[in-house]
């Protein structure tokens, strides 16, 4: 591709349609006549919602990136869709439902906690609980026969008897 063609390729993308926060170009202080500083308006609720929803949706042409993280053109346009739908008054759930209607459940970055999908959320927790219980039972068995509290220095590394003797001197 020639450079010119490449530039043309990107031309429609660089329009104002790309996702961004509110821009109100203002003149900064009296001295800075050349520069215009954009005051970053504290993030609007819409901005926050767009970011929130975009983080939870998958960029369809990327490898596992969310819409928020992906720099690709499709992701930028999809963020625009999120924004315009929110501005029209749709709820975040409605926006997500729209994308699921086009792309299927796969577009969500994590599975909905419903039905069979619950297993992926529950099993790890179960694993920790079951493991902990098992360990406690085993530990109880192992502790039977634990002798009287130890006398003498502890925390001794057998390979360094020198150190053991001297460690004893140090108040713990």
């Amino acid at each position: 591709m020639t450079a010119a063609a490449l530039m043309l390729l990107l031309a429609p993308v660089s329009g104002p349609a790309t996702g961004q926060s509110a821009q109100q170009p203002t003149q900064s202080g009296a001295g800075a006549a050349q520069e215009q500083t954009i005051e970053v308006v504290p993030e609007t609720e819409i901005d926050r919602q767009v970011r929130d929803i975009a983080s939870g949706l998958r960029c369809p042409i990327c490898q596992g990136q969310s819409l928020q993280d992906s720099p690709s053109e499709l992701a930028q346009q999809m963020r625009d869709v999120i924004r315009s739908r929110l501005e029209e008054g749709q709820t975040p759930d409605q926006v997500r439902d729209y994308f699921m209607g086009s792309y299927g459940e796969w577009i969500l970055m994590e599975p909905r906690a419903k039905g069979f999908n619950l297993t992926v959320y529950v099993l790890p927790v179960l694993a920790v609980i079951v493991g902990a219980l098992g360990l406690m039972m085993a530990a109880r068995r192992w502790l039977v026969g634990a002798g009287a509290p130890l006398a003498g220095p502890t925390n001794v590394d057998e390979s360094d008897p020198d150190l053991a003797a001297w460690e004893d001197l140090v108040p713990r």
């Binding site: 591709m1 450079a3 490449l6 043309l8 990107l10 993308v13 790309t18 996702g19 961004q20 926060s21 821009q23 170009p25 050349q34 520069e35 215009q36 500083t37 954009i38 970053v40 983080s55 998958r58 490898q63 596992g64 990136q65 993280d69 992906s70 720099p71 930028q76 299927g104 796969w106 969500l108 970055m109 994590e110 599975p111 069979f116 992926v120 959320y121 694993a127 920790v128 493991g131 902990a132 360990l135 502790l143 026969g145 634990a146 509290p149 130890l150 502890t154 925390n155 590394d157 057998e158 390979s159 360094d160 020198d162 150190l163 001297w166 460690e167 001197l169 140090v170 108040p171 713990r172």
Partner: protein, 662 residues
């Protein structure tokens, strides 16, 4: 010529490996010393042959011999020399060739050091190593053949994947990863050797512990390098996306870390033998599974190079290894099991048990999440995605709990300690914990998990440093050494322990870096006209101009932006978009200003063709710098811990012969 050399070397390596397996097994079962020698020589021979094959390929890449299939696939006359050499591992066939080389090298070292002294255990290990090698050599003359003939010879090639040409870390990440990954084959081989030979005492453990440690160091460095590369190259300001191949490298690291701890319990108390065997087996299996997942096209991933029949080969190999090792493990379990005993619930042993529980649960969670799309499709017929939000949600509690243990472990002695001793030594760390938590509430840290993480990090730092200070003070009092001398001698005399504490400190740094950068990340995406600025996270960023440069293999659009801290000019940043021939989407090169306090991260998303405006994303993330520093500290700690024990001034009371490493 090169082609023939390479393919012949690999083919002979395959035959030699098969012969070596047979010889080793026969030698072990029938006690035939000459066959034993032959089996050992087979290992050295495969190393020599794989060296020839790899050097041939490197030569072919450098001389741009496009008659060789792999060179035609990834080579290009316009690629700079460094990237030409490292394109050895930039695509599937070359990376398998490289893997085979490292495997043969590790096998040669392992057999050279241990092959003769361990009798049938050593011979079975020999057989397992050659067997694994044989699989990879088979791949190389079969579905992953890099030495295929391309006729007519092309004049030039497409060059390696542009994502792999953008950064020097690509020279470092795959070799480190393979050194770590492949290294796990050795402990596995000796573990299998123990099960097969019936020599179930902890001979195999003593032999393999250092191997696992070394491989673990490489794997840790590889993971950090991968994160760093991801951060510097991919443009989204993150370093870990829970992509399947990231998970594939992480899971063996988790089980290996668990093993490094629980093996200490086995050494001291002769318990957990079955568990340790299982951990090492799991580590190896996870490395093969990881390779399968990313090479076979089962899951789509950033790293998925190609699909095809290679998946079937890997499946067959996994099936074989899985059945073989699991049957052997469970079959021998009754012989392995020994009654365990614990002296005190408040002891280091208990902490290590907790450590293993958490690491195992962690591995299980990551594995489940990675495979769940497959399971869901198999059982429900629907495709679902399991991405970063899931993994972050489920693993944060585990990570914070582990951070807690990092603090508690060093504070509790082996076999338990006097209660008053413990009470006294816990004071400073506890004070640090409370202080930090209070501070977090004052500055209103937004997340409970973050507060816990910071608190435990402080706690762990104090307990680990306390161990150092106690040891150093003792030495100074005893020997009158200067501070640096005492520190050095302390670490060298007990390198395993103090290397471990150092690694803990590194891990704490990484944890703090990750916690801070994710909790306090600020980002904006905005379109700026020339001369316009935007303020993000305390910085002001001004767009100055756009440039376009034609390079040998790509066209580069750069945006020049200046960063300000108040009125102080911080310099220019230039994020770029790289357009490679034949690819529809450009590759981003973000521009990062990295400082210990925070990183200012700029990525160019779009631009106006006349250069009048640019769309950039500006991200400010605190403490990312400490993730990389912490990673290096972890690696340093691991290296120190892996050092061979020095001959001590006093006679050692250890039970093993001096020649075998601890």
């Amino acid at each position: 010529m090169i082609r023939i050399t390479g393919i012949t070397a690999v083919s002979i390596a395959l035959l030699v490996a098969i012969w070596g397996v047979i010889a080793a097994v026969l030698a072990a079962t029938r006690r035939m010393p000459r066959l034993a020698e032959s089996a050992r020589s087979a290992v050295f021979a495969t190393f020599a042959l794989m060296t020839i094959a790899n050097l041939s390929m490197i030569y072919g890449l450098i001389t741009h011999d496009f008659s060789i299939g792999y060179v035609a696939q990834v080579g290009s006359r316009s690629t700079p020399l460094l990237f030409t050499v490292i394109s050895l591992w930039s695509a599937l066939e070359g990376s398998i060739l490289f893997w085979g080389w490292i495997l043969s090298a590790y096998s040669a070292v392992a057999i050279w050091v241990h092959g003769r002294r361990l009798g049938s255990l050593g011979l079975y290990a020999n057989a397992v190593l050659l067997g694994i090698g044989a699989f990879f050599y088979l791949l190389l003359i079969g579905p992953a053949n890099p030495f295929g003939l391309v006729s007519p010879t092309p004049i030039d090639g497409p060059g390696p994947n542009p994502l792999l040409q953008n950064h020097y870390l690509m020279a470092v990440h795959p070799p480190l990863l393979y050194l770590g990954y492949v290294g796990m084959s050795v402990p596995f081989a000796f573990a299998m050797g123990a099960l097969l030979s019936g020599r179930l005492d902890d001979t195999w453990l003593r032999v393999t512990r250092r191997w696992t440690m070394v491989s673990w160091v490489f794997l840790s460095m590889a993971i950090i390098a991968g994160m760093w590369w991801s951060y510097d190259v991919l443009g989204w300001g993150g370093y870990w996306a829970w992509d399947p191949v990231e998970n594939a490298s992480f899971m063996p690291w988790l089980t290996a870390t668990a093993f490094l701890h629980s093996s200490m319990v086995q050494e001291r108390r002769n318990m957990l033998r079955f568990w340790n065997q299982s951990l090492i087996t799991a580590t190896f299996l996870l490395t093969i599974l990881g390779t399968f997942l990313t090479r076979s096209g089962v899951l789509s991933s950033v790293h998925a190079f190609t699909e095809g029949t290679i998946g079937l080969f890997f499946l067959g190999f996994i099936a074989l290894v899985l059945v073989f090792s699991l049957v052997l493990l469970t079959g021998r379990s009754t012989d392995l099991r020994r009654a365990g005993s614990l002296d005190d619930p408040l002891s280091r042993e208990t902490v290590f048990l907790g450590n293993n529980l958490l690491f195992t649960a962690f591995t299980f969670t990551v594995l489940l999440g990675t495979l769940f799309p497959l399971v869901a499709e198999a059982l429900r017929g629907v495709k679902v995605s399991v991405g970063a939000p899931f993994f972050n949600r489920m693993t944060v509690p585990l990570c914070v709990s582990l951070l807690f243990l990092v603090g508690v472990g060093p504070a509790l002695p082996w076999r338990g300690g006097h209660r008053d001793q413990l009470k006294r030594s816990i004071m400073p760390p506890l004070a640090a914990l409370l202080l930090i938590v209070a501070l977090c509430f004052v500055i209103r840290v937004p997340s409970g998990w973050a507060i816990a993480a910071f608190g435990f990090a402080g706690f762990a730092t104090v307990t680990n440093l306390q161990e150092y200070s106690r040891g150093v003070l003792a030495r100074r009092r005893a020997h009158g050494e200067s501070l640096p001398q005492a520190l050095y001698r302390l670490m060298m005399a007990n390198n395993r322990r103090y290397g471990g504490y150092l690694a803990h400190l590194g891990a704490v740094m990484v944890a703090v870096g990750i916690t801070a950068s994710s909790t306090y990340r600020t980002e904006r995406q905005v379109t700026l006209n020339q001369g316009q600025s935007v303020e993000v996270g305390g910085y002001r960023v001004r767009f100055d101009e756009l440039t376009g440069v034609q390079e040998s293999n790509r066209y580069v659009i750069g945006a020049h932006l200046t960063a300000f801290d108040g009125t102080r000019d911080l310099g220019q940043l230039d994020p770029r978009l790289n357009f490679y021939n034949g690819r529809s989407d450009p590759v981003t090169t973000p521009s990062v200003r990295s400082r210990p306090a925070n990183d200012l991260y700029l990525n160019l998303l779009a631009y106006e063709q006349d250069g009048s405006s640019a769309t950039v994303s500006v991200i400010v993330e605190p403490l990312v710098f400490w993730i990389w520093v912490g990673g290096l500290v972890v690696a340093l700690g691991g290296v120190i811990a892996a050092l061979p024990p020095r001959r001590r001034l006093a006679p050692r009371r250890s039970r093993q012969p001096a020649a075998v490493e601890a």
